[in-house]
């Protein structure tokens, strides 16, 4: 069974949700990709901050 499918069996609550696959999980802690996201998220946050002051 694939890693992302393991938890579907554990609780009835989990069966109707979406669980990320291995690629999505790896990207969450992939330093290069996350550095790019770091820049993107900061830009988005700065826009929201500037609109809020």
């Amino acid at each position: 069974m694939k890693q992302e499918e393991v938890n579907f069996e554990k609780q009835n609550q989990f069966t109707l949700t979406m669980i990320p696959g291995s690629f999505a999980r790896k990207m969450r802690t992939c330093v290069i990709w996350q550095f790019i996201r770091f820049i993107a998220i900061n830009i988005k946050m700065l826009i929201v901050v500037s609109k809020s002051h």
């Binding site: 949700t17 979406m18 990207m27 802690t29 996350q34 550095f35 929201v48 901050v49």
Partner: protein
């Protein structure tokens, strides 16, 4: 010379006091009254609660900072407000009771020209039998991460749970809200996933059952009625993302729950459908409901006039629409803009201390009539922005006269918020949900559909979010210490 008193030295009060002093200079006086000797960056308490930070990492002493800024610091709790003065004098004043500075227990009066109430909340543990000790403090059945000292205690208890799990004893952990009217689900959300992350690191995750319990009617409500984000070409609810994260981390949930009683190892709860249940635990962190700190207000004759200034929940009345009525009638314009008290124009409230007009989430109650809904969050970025706006208004009133001054506005229905919720700490292994909402309070007239601008409302989980949370930790402590360039750091 005018005197401004700021009651409270947390995120909102500290922001208001420091900006007011910067703008007023030495011509006018700024006094801060707070019972705490230390400033606490509360969002990082969850890391103290899992042993990843020490208390010293999240607090610093206020006295030297205020001395450097020229702010008169009184380590005391404000007890009562006398907006008409007393029989001898018309001058408005507050009474305080010292909690430090070598004057513990002594009372004093301080006259004011302007008053900012930024006391934050009373942690109302006693609202749930067994959650408190009956004397207004946390009881022995659960732990809390609301203060740095609570978080230290929580970590000591948590490490014992990990030790038992290492010895092969199966453990049950329960995290969430300890009452049907709680707010701050975000802190509990961060704590449960940090526990889960640390349990994995300690190699005991398989021996620990971790469960969530909260008063939200759906996962991902967060007291804001949830939020919708654009992801992969879809506009989707935070419910999907929250449920996904809980499922991925093997954390089942009980939602729509009012915890009615806590005993040693047991939490009794009532659900929206009226059914009741008991959840057993070896370790539980349940956020208490918030209330106003319990000020009294008196008129010139000494008669109680608390209800003129404060709402029944103890929070200060401001320029909000408190008679909006049923949910169907709620509008973004119900929310306060200037945070000025409608009766006393020299009195303002900011941060958690102001009384919101109503909930943000859709109200709900069980079939037995028990209200079970999150109350509105007013912490973090909005709290700082409101504190700064209120300080700006007071400074303009002092400099230009109360009649001519421009009151600055900071409606939560017109401002956004950036929120980073940690889901585990680690330079290369940590993750956090980085989110923004715009506006905080949905405006269904301006944004029919989701109530918010989906171009500026987003969220994603990853290492980048963790880096941002860690940077914000250092940035906001730097700012609060008034180090060079502190005004450049946004709230």
């Amino acid at each position: 010379m005018a005197r401004l008193i700021v009651m409270g030295g947390g995120v909102s009060g500290h922001t208001a006091a420091t900006f007011a002093k910067k703008w007023l200079g030495n011509e006018h006086e700024v006094v801060v009254v707070t019972p705490n000797s230390q400033w606490n960056w509360i969002p990082s308490n969850i890391w103290v609660g899992v042993g990843q930070m020490t208390k010293e990492d999240v607090v610093f002493p206020l006295a030297p900072v205020y001395e450097k800024a020229g702010i008169d610091f009184r380590q005391a709790k404000a007890v009562s407000i006398h907006p008409h003065g007393n029989k001898e004098s018309d001058k408005e004043y507050i009474t305080i009771e010292y909690t430090g500075q070598g004057k513990e227990g002594q009372t004093e009066t301080i006259e004011y020209d302007y008053l900012i109430n930024a006391t934050g909340p009373k942690l109302n543990f006693d609202a749930t039998p067994g959650l408190g000790n009956g004397k207004g403090q946390m009881g022995n059945n659960t732990v809390s991460v609301c203060t740095a000292d609570h978080a230290i205690h929580a970590n000591l208890e948590l490490q014992q749970i990990f030790e038992k799990a290492k010895k092969g004893e199966r453990q049950k952990i329960l995290v969430g809200t300890g009452h049907g009217m709680c707010t701050c689900q975000g802190a509990a959300f961060e704590y449960i996933f940090n526990i889960e992350h640390e349990a994995k690191k300690a190699g005991v995750r398989d021996m620990i059952d971790i469960k969530w319990i909260s008063n939200e009617s759906f996962l991902g409500d967060f007291g804001m009625g949830g939020l919708h984000m654009k992801v992969g070409g879809y506009v989707v609810s935070s419910k999907l993302f929250a449920e996904s994260l809980f499922s991925e981390r093997n954390v089942p949930w009980i939602i729509g729950a009012h915890v009615s009683k806590v005993e040693e190892g047991k939490a009794h709860y009532e659900l929206l459908d009226g059914t009741t249940g008991v959840e057993e635990f070896d370790f539980a962190m349940l956020i208490p409901p918030f209330a106003g700190v319990g000020f009294k207000a008196y008129d010139k004759e000494g008669e109680d006039m608390t209800d003129v200034i404060f709402a029944p929940n103890g929070f200060m009345k401001v320029d909000a629409k408190y008679d909006a009525g049923a949910y169907e009638n709620w509008k973004a314009s119900d929310w306060p803009r200037t945070y000025q008290n409608p009766t006393f124009k020299n009195m303002f409230a900011c941060g958690i201390a102001f009384a919101p007009p109503h909930l943000i989430s859709k109200p709900a109650s069980s079939v037995n009539g028990t209200p079970i809904n999150p109350t509105p969050p007013r912490t973090g970025m909005p709290s700082g922005i409101i504190g700064k706006a209120v300080a700006h208004s007071v400074c303009d009133m002092i400099k230009n006269g109360a009649e001519n001054a421009h009151l600055h506005e900071a409606s939560m229905a017109e401002m956004g918020a950036a929120c980073v919720a940690s889901a585990g700490k680690g330079l290369t292994t940590g993750t956090a949900a980085a989110m923004t909402v715009y506006p905080v309070v949905p405006d269904f007239e301006k944004y029919p559909g989701t109530g918010r601008d989906t171009d500026y409302t987003f969220g994603e989980i990853g290492l980048a979010g963790h880096w941002i949370k860690h940077i914000l930790h250092h940035m906001f402590i730097y700012k609060a210490k008034l180090k060079p360039g502190w005004t450049l750091v946004p709230e």
